[in-house]
Symmetry: C3
Subunit: 490 residues, 3 copies
């Protein structure tokens, strides 16, 4: 048994091989082919994207093409789409030498995750029992984007420490878990979660944090010199921050009820986010020497309000209620970066590269609580009877559910999201710990060179011989300089 | 009295203290709390964002949710939102070491300004006299974004020379002044200003220029080495330019009348902007040695047409009229950068960091004039009777106003905007001159280091000891190089 | 005759003069003035952007302003607009010292091309024969953007090797050719091409490639040191890639039929693009040493699916059909970068800077073929009778065309696009070869300095004398370093 232990230990501690030339293409090809087959068997257009729409219009007495759900939701979808690919992608470019991986792997796993999410969510939500097919349209596109958002959040915790193959595996399981918890929370518990404080953020964040805990690297300081930012990488990250911040109202309103639902969700989110900016700046300045601002806080904590208002965005939270939520979440998130992230790393061994605990976990949890309280406090006088039924979708089997009970189910939903994150993350974490996925050694973390052809820096490029131009001289000087100095210093 | 003068002079000339660790958090917290209270007292949802929408639909016989103003205006709002945060923010990143402040302070003051604008504009425009509450929806979101645009324009004049606390004060007063002049111009004079050539650009630019005049720094050349751009900061600025340029049609059409009003305003702006690009390039090339283009012109003057067509965008300006406006504004704006900006600085002591006189003041003024002329020349044959009333909103007390009179009121509106900018800027300028706001010394202007934790440059980061990897060597060489050379040159 | 040959040879081989101080402003001014005159004579608002809209509404019994085409198409237009200016512009910023030209010239020729496209396309498509005027609205804006897209694709082939004046000439002819081939393909052949696989991509790519062949530079390796990327220029290029990728669903659906047409085109494009990402990553990793990814592939081949689904996007391609198209195009495009681009350069003397053969030519051609097959295979059972007529616009003279015949006309359309590209490119290539356009010498290719005032690098800026601040020291050290080393190495 000691030999077995030793063998296992050897298995887990053998030198890292980051060559993914077989595994990455294999995973991409096999999974893409599986997607094609499953799409062939299951996936069809829904009645609004099918060419039979003209027939549907007649049958359902729809007078105008503008009533096609496309026109209600497509602008919001495009904003969400930008958040997924530019928002999340660029937010993670802040590391000095990991921008290719931040944007590139974000791109890869989102593109894969969307396909798998369309299937998984389709089976749970959009299955047409008459023919056994999944029928998709613009709302499925939004929901698939939502689903991969949870995996991109999880990516933030392990940024720089995993291989693209690990990310693909993490996304496969993440999407699967998401579809199940979404079904339990939305359909079985009938909890509302317009912007996904629970379903997206709480689940995604704890999923990522748990995985990061299990993949704990005690010697990660060997790549410490790459864990910071440089000037321009921080500016790139602001591209991500701002597109997330600006389009968050679309995110939280994208799947809300037509009319006042979408309108109010966008307005509430817009208000909440403005308050987060002010308190983030305040705390950042207050806690630094000389009152200087820290870019990490501005890039992240300004967004906390958007996360925290996710569940309640479509409720009658009232404008001042939004500001209050934004006010506290900006404070809590910024304090999290200053005090909790170091604590998590040193005491709990959770290495959280992007600080998703501060941006998604805590605000997501708060969002679930705010949603439960606001739901429980809903009254007919504030909503009107029709408005209450419409906002909480009290119809069918849930027609007689009172708001107070709804509040309880909201809280239950939050617990489900949390449990899925923690348990799912534990299982997936151990799968990812298998030494077959090509993850980098500690000293190669946060370094694009491991998985990317990185262009040589200017100074190391030899000029063309005999080439006589002042620009060329600049390069020559530079490389001569390095060369000469090296000589003299050896 | 001499002693008093001396004391005052000492008060104004004492060494600069840029530590904002108390003042910035204090301003953010206090103002945010005040906002929460005022929002609690005054701010409610309007009938289109309230859960009573279903009741409203019945009462007003609205057949479809798509008639909710959200679907008419939200896509335009999101484009405007991008202009405010990414457009203005990134346009100002061109300075070599001031990108954090450009994007970050733009973010801060816009987020604060939006809240205050919702209140100020709400009291003037959206107050429900039956219950004393302000009722808000998507149009208020657009108008709040418009309002802060004027303050962000003003920021362009003082970029690099003021503290974040000064910017907050400038925004507080700027929004207040804006709400009053907007009320006078739009409601009392009943002048039309769809894209805000007068209300936003003329006011904002002269407000900022006047403040910059009063804060004149005779020794600003002490930070001259930071006043230029570097290669990548110019590319970042183009992100700002392009998002402003592309979305300007949405800006000018966002609050126009449903139907042809929005349609025509977008089309007119689109056309005008294309012409500005060509004449900007022409003048830039013509006035430089060897015909080389100057990035400053491309980043700014290409946008002048959008400013200048702001007032007349919803009028029947005709496609060729748009091209003419764009043609001349591209020329005037570029010539402004070449001849007027240096003149303003040397003769009038107006230091205009971003050249807002060329991008906003002159084109805004031209826009007001074009608007007045086009309004005065409007006829029923061109507009149709219904179209004329609809475009100029000739109803209620203004039902019988003839277009020629309207032209006069348009001109009066321009004068009001100008007066508010000049007088307001003077007052606020003297307030900002008080030596309590933490503004930087002349030699620290245009430097992020004063207010931000700036990441160290690559070469100055010590590699981890004993760390044996080719990447690390790169850093080592670089720092060795500097070290050795320093040694030898001393 | 020998003397004549010699004279001609001397004429073509005289030393390059890249001074465009006369030619560039002249072209811009003259063409802009011509545009104003032609717009004055021909261009008017259509019934949906004209102030007579209220009259039209009554006449045509339109019940709501939301039926104005503006609300169906403007969000898509804005996405397309972003693709044209930010997407194409930033995609080309990957070169280390050519970002100004990439974004700036893209901006210039798009702004010019849009005006000329409105006229050319207007004469062919939107001429009102009752008054001889072109009537424009939002759909014309989209079509003009589409038209210039073809010229921007062509720019990709010659990037870095031509002057802005040549680009203007290339755009003038490109737009003209486009309007003619579009008329032949869309109106005469009545082929469908929603996203322009044939009309935009096939034409644009072969137009650019043919021009690049004729402008072949045997000694282009003299500027080889500028043909690569640097780290941050690759990240900037990803801004372009992602905005193209995200908004491609809007591109392919922008002019489709209201309702299911737009809905399905967006959905199909969304699906296709996800598959391209996975196979691009797979092939990129598989073909590099150690399985490392190449940024060139990620920046370009991930988009190939969007090009290839352009024609068939509005058809009933089925979700799995989309994934298959994306699957193969990602593979083909990436293999193109690895094997075909070097072959084209060495054997066929086609220097294709951005690899448009892999991103636009091959996928565009495939898209035309996929469109022809899918059209020929269309049946009433899949589309419904109304849906078939609506999707293929089988009305008027084409009311009885069967799908199989439609497939033949689709193939004919592809041949027309190809022919226009090859023949047009040949003619325009020889025009551009005239030595009067200010193109750069071989050793100055890919260098912004030829046409732009480029900011000096940090190290070469002299610090202000006596200026005593730690920031200044940094600059000083740096320049001292260079200075000292130069001394010692000479």
């Amino acid at each position: 048994m000691g030999a077995c232990m030793e063998a296992m230990s050897g298995f887990f501690n053998r030198p890292k091989n980051t060559n993914v030339r077989i595994s990455l293409p294999a995973v991409c090809f096999v999974w893409q082919i599986v997607m094609i087959i499953l799409f062939g068997v299951f996936m069809r257009y829904d009645k609004e994207s099918d060419a039979h729409w003209l027939v549907t219009k007649k049958e359902e007495n729809i007078t105008s093409d503008i009533e096609n759900d496309f026109y209600y939701r497509y602008p919001s979808f495009q904003d969400v789409h930008v958040m997924i690919f530019v928002g999340f992608g660029f937010l993670m470019t802040f590391l000095r030498k990991y921008s290719f991986s931040a944007v590139g792997f974000n791109f890869l796993i989102a593109a894969f995750g969307i396909q798998w999410a369309l299937l998984m969510q389709g089976w749970f939500q959009s299955l047409d029992y008459t023919d056994g097919k999944i029928k998709i349209g613009v709302e499925n596109m939004i929901n698939a984007d939502f689903c991969v958002a949870s995996c991109l959040i999880a990516y933030g915790a392990v940024l720089g420490k995993v291989s693209p193959v690990q990310l693909m595996v993490m996304t496969l399981f993440g999407v699967t878990l998401y579809a199940v918890e979404e079904y339990i929370i939305s359909n079985l518990l009938h909890a509302r979660d317009a912007g996904g404080s629970m379903i997206i953020h709480t689940f995604g964040a704890y999923y990522g944090l748990t995985i990061s805990r299990i993949l704990y690297r005690p010697n990660l300081n060997q790549s410490k010199h790459l864990q910071g930012s440089v000037y321009h990488s921080d500016v790139f990250a602001m591209v991500g921050t701002l597109f997330l911040w600006m389009f968050w109202p679309s995110f939280n309103s994208a799947t809300s009820a037509h009319g006042d639902g979408q309108h109010r969700a966008a307005l509430n989110t817009y208000l909440t986010l403005t308050a987060s900016v002010l308190t983030t700046v305040a705390i950042s300045s207050l806690t630094q020497k000389k009152g200087k601002l820290d870019m990490v806080h501005i890039q992240n904590s300004t967004l906390a309000g958007g996360v925290a208002v996710g569940t309640a965005a479509e409720f009658m939270l009232m404008p001042y209620g939004c500001l209050i939520v934004g006010f506290f979440c900006g404070i809590i998130s910024t304090l999290g970066y200053i005090y909790i992230t170091p604590f998590l790393e040193s005491k709990l061994h959770i290495q959280d590269t992007c600080g998703i605990h501060n941006l998604h976990a805590m605000p997501g949890f708060i969002g679930g609580v705010v949603g439960a309280i606001t739901a429980a406090a809903a009254t007919e006088s504030v909503y009107s009877a029709e408005g209450l039924a419409n906002t909480f979708n009290f119809n069918g089997a849930f027609a007689n559910r009172p708001p107070t009970i709804q509040g309880g189910y909201q809280a239950a939903g939050l617990a489900v999201a949390l449990a899925f994150g923690l348990v799912g993350g534990t299982v997936v974490g151990f799968i990812l710990k298998l030494p077959i996925w090509g993850d980098p050694a500690d000293e190669n973390c946060f370094d694009d060179e491991v998985y990317w052809e990185v262009p040589e820096d200017e100074e190391s490029i030899p000029p063309v011989m005999g080439y006589n131009h002042h620009m060329a001289n600049k390069y020559t000087e530079q490389s001569d300089s390095n060369f000469t100095v090296e000589q003299s210093s050896n």
